[in-house]
């Protein structure tokens, strides 16, 4: 019996040192359903079904070296089932960029997870993971992972709070053309007589600090229509046409009068706005290209 106690204490001590309660490597961990390169040297990120606890199955982000699992982190949104099924398209999780999206579970227990490579340095890629969850009300979150030697690290996260929130983390090429940056958009549709809110952040990788840093963001491309004297009339206009996904925002965010409101769609890329302009939509007055000024609303 004393030997058993000794072994238990030894195991417990090892577990504390290795943080095994949260990240114990399971020998039988399911292989990744898809992999994304972390850069040269055969290091990849993988997405795999996770184990289930009390009916909650959190997909897992893996770090693999030459195909061998070296570390993993379970994602925050857990589905009602573990098995991952490939979605067609990118499930609206990223503008234009083709990303792989995988869904586990169904109806309220459904969680869709999409992986997107981000060139953080000319030689190394991070992994941006988008998740949407729920059926009645959709919630989104975004996590950025990096490989730090044989460790997988989550270096940035953004999640939506309660209510009719919306968010997107868009990968765009940086000015140098050799790396990417992230435009993080966060919106809220309160309904009723209050205007929607939309904020934007430009996030650039700081390789020295190994973190994303907020950088100034002057304008974002947008498309707007109308100029309404109240939120109520703007909402009515949005509900009666193909514009129901447009934001009801103060016109001064687009260079208009502070007392007016417009219907708007804002994107991280100009191509997205051009595609939106090309989408058939009998909006009156006609839609027009605009510039969204996030200044003053960057959190």
């Amino acid at each position: 019996m004393p030997l058993l106690i000794y072994l238990f204490v030894l195991l417990a001590a090892w577990c504390v040192a290795e943080d095994c309660a949260s990240r114990q490597l399971e020998p039988g961990l399911v292989p990744a359903v898809t992999q994304v390169s972390a850069g040269p040297g055969g290091v990849t990120y993988g997405l795999a079904p996770g184990s289930c606890t009390e009916g909650r199955c959190a997909p897992v982000i893996q770090l693999l070296s030459s195909g061998k699992l070296v570390d993993f982190i379970p994602l925050d949104f857990a589905a009602s089932e573990a098995a991952l099924t490939r979605e067609e398209g990118n499930s609206g999780l990223a503008e234009l960029t083709p990303v792989e999206a995988w869904t586990a579970g169904s109806e309220e227990g459904a969680v869709t997870t999409a992986l997107q490579s981000v060139r953080l340095t000319p030689a190394g890629n991070g992994l941006l993971v988008h998740q949407t969850a729920g059926f009645e009300h959709i919630k989104r979150r975004h996590d950025l992972f990096v490989a730090d030697g044989k460790k997988l690290k989550r270096v940035w996260s953004a999640a939506e709070g309660a209510g009719p929130a919306w968010s997107a983390a868009e990968v765009v090429p940086s000015g140098n053309g050799r790396t990417d940056e992230i435009i993080y958009l966060r919106g809220f549709r309160p309904g009723g007589t209050e205007a929607d809110t939309l904020t934007a952040r430009r996030l650039v990788w700081d390789d020295t600090k190994q973190e994303l840093a907020v950088q100034p963001l002057a304008i974002l491309p947008a498309v707007t229509t109308g100029e309404y004297s109240s939120v109520k009339t703007a909402r009515r206009a949005a509900a009666s046409s193909c514009l129901n996904e447009y934001w009801v925002l103060p016109a001064n965010r687009f260079g208009g009068a502070a007392s007016k409101f417009v219907l708007a769609r804002v994107a991280a890329r100009k191509q997205t706005i051009e595609a939106e302009m090309a989408r058939p939509c009998e909006a009156r007055p006609a839609r027009r290209m605009a510039k969204f000024r996030p200044a003053g609303t960057v959190e």
């Binding site: 309220e108 729920g134 009645e136 959709i138 709070g161 309160p190 009723g192 129901n244 996904e245 959190e299």
Partner: protein, 361 residues
């Protein structure tokens, strides 16, 4: 008057919520020089700064508090029913008199108005668009939340029953018309009306129904308040969803399928025969054919093919002992359009009869 449940100070009980409340009061109340007794932000963690602030307040109010004297509070300790908390309460400005905190949370807030809570509960009880059992439980939640915590809950602008048409216009959902619990008066989005919480620096923040500002300041603190609401909801019982905090509903979501439940209602309220995945007999009594998603059917773009409609019409002829056979080429686009309208009419009948909805696993 703000109340603590246990002592705060050196070697005291120092429950998180009590510490937070005392700290917040010391942050709000100012000394003779116009400086707050607590220099930093309140956080619910007891330490040297809090200790110094308590002692400074006790010393400045030595005549009334008499800390350290026989039979009085110890210097540096605030007792639950002692002179220090009474003096602190008296020193609060009129704007901050009704401070409260929920046990095991860290957010100090101001009491809501009883009239608002009553109006909110009454509006729910009188709402004809809610199922009776549900609205009574929801109103009870509002009553209990106010009785227990002096917090006013209210329905959000889009939190009531939604018609199928309103559901179709929703953008932040995967649930199509008839696939949301909101469509059947058995769910509501119920948030916090005019919730005024005390920021770290002692100033008042009036939040939106969804605690957006608190969420930005600290998601954990916002979740703690939703948890307090849900702790009451659970006893009624009302059920939350896994991912959306503002939503509460009559039934445990893990016990039923929204899609299967809608299929049952379609069979109850409509004229056609429906099965899982919106397979339908087109009202012709034969086999069932896929009609598309709820969104497609409601939009009038149900996936009715000429082949399926021809087969369904032929089956009806066979059932009537007729030998007439419909071929795909016999089906006109108008017939397809008419069938799409008929399918939408089934959904409209379900919308009209929303009260008859029952849950199906």
């Amino acid at each position: 008057m703000p109340a603590i449940t246990g002592s705060v100070g050196e070697d005291a009980l120092n429950k998180t919520h009590d510490v937070a409340l005392v700290q917040a009061m010391l942050r709000i109340v100012k000394n003779a020089k116009g400086s707050p007794y607590l220099g930093g932000h309140y956080d619910g963690a007891y330490g040297g700064i809090t200790k110094s602030a308590i002692i400074a307040f006790q010393n400045d109010n030595a005549k009334t508090i008499q800390a350290g004297q026989k039979g009085k509070e110890k210097l540096g300790v605030v007792d639950a029913a002692g002179a220090t908390i009474t003096a602190l309460s008296a020193a609060l400005p009129a704007t901050h008199k009704e401070l409260r905190i929920i046990p095991n949370t860290k957010t100090v807030y101001l009491e809501g108005a009883q009239a608002d809570a009553q109006a909110s509960a009454n509006a729910i009880r009188n709402d004809a668009e809610f199922e009776t059992t549900f609205k009574n439980l929801l109103a009870k939640l509002v009553d209990t939340m106010y009785a227990d915590h002096k917090i006013v809950l209210k329905l959000t602008p889009t939190g009531r029953r939604r018609t199928f048409a309103q559901q179709a216009a929703e953008v932040n959902t995967k649930a199509g018309p008839g696939e949301s619990n909101h469509n059947f008066g058995r769910a509501a989005d119920i948030g916090f009306k005019g919730f005024r919480w005390i920021q770290g620096d002692g100033t008042i923040k009036t939040d939106a129904d969804w605690l957006n500002a608190l969420e930005v300041a600290s998601a954990a603190k916002a979740n703690a308040l939703w948890d307090a609401r849900d702790a009451i909801a659970k006893t009624l019982p009302l059920f939350r969803l896994n991912f959306e905090r503002v939503h509460l509903q009559l039934h445990d979501q893990s016990t039923f399928s929204n899609i299967n439940s809608l299929v049952k209602l379609l069979n109850t309220a409509g004229k056609m025969k429906w099965n899982k995945g919106y397979k339908c007999d087109f009202g012709l009594g034969g086999a069932l054919y896929p009609a598309g998603t709820a969104k497609q059917i409601w939009a009038g773009t149900a996936t009715v093919t000429k082949a399926n409609l021809a087969a369904a019409l032929t089956a009806k002829e066979v059932a009537a002992q007729s030998k007439k056979v419909f071929k795909e080429a016999d089906i006109t686009q108008k017939q397809i359009g008419d069938m799409q309208k008929a399918l939408k009419a089934e959904f409209e009948a379900a919308d009209t009869n929303w009260i008859k909805w029952t849950k199906v696993p």
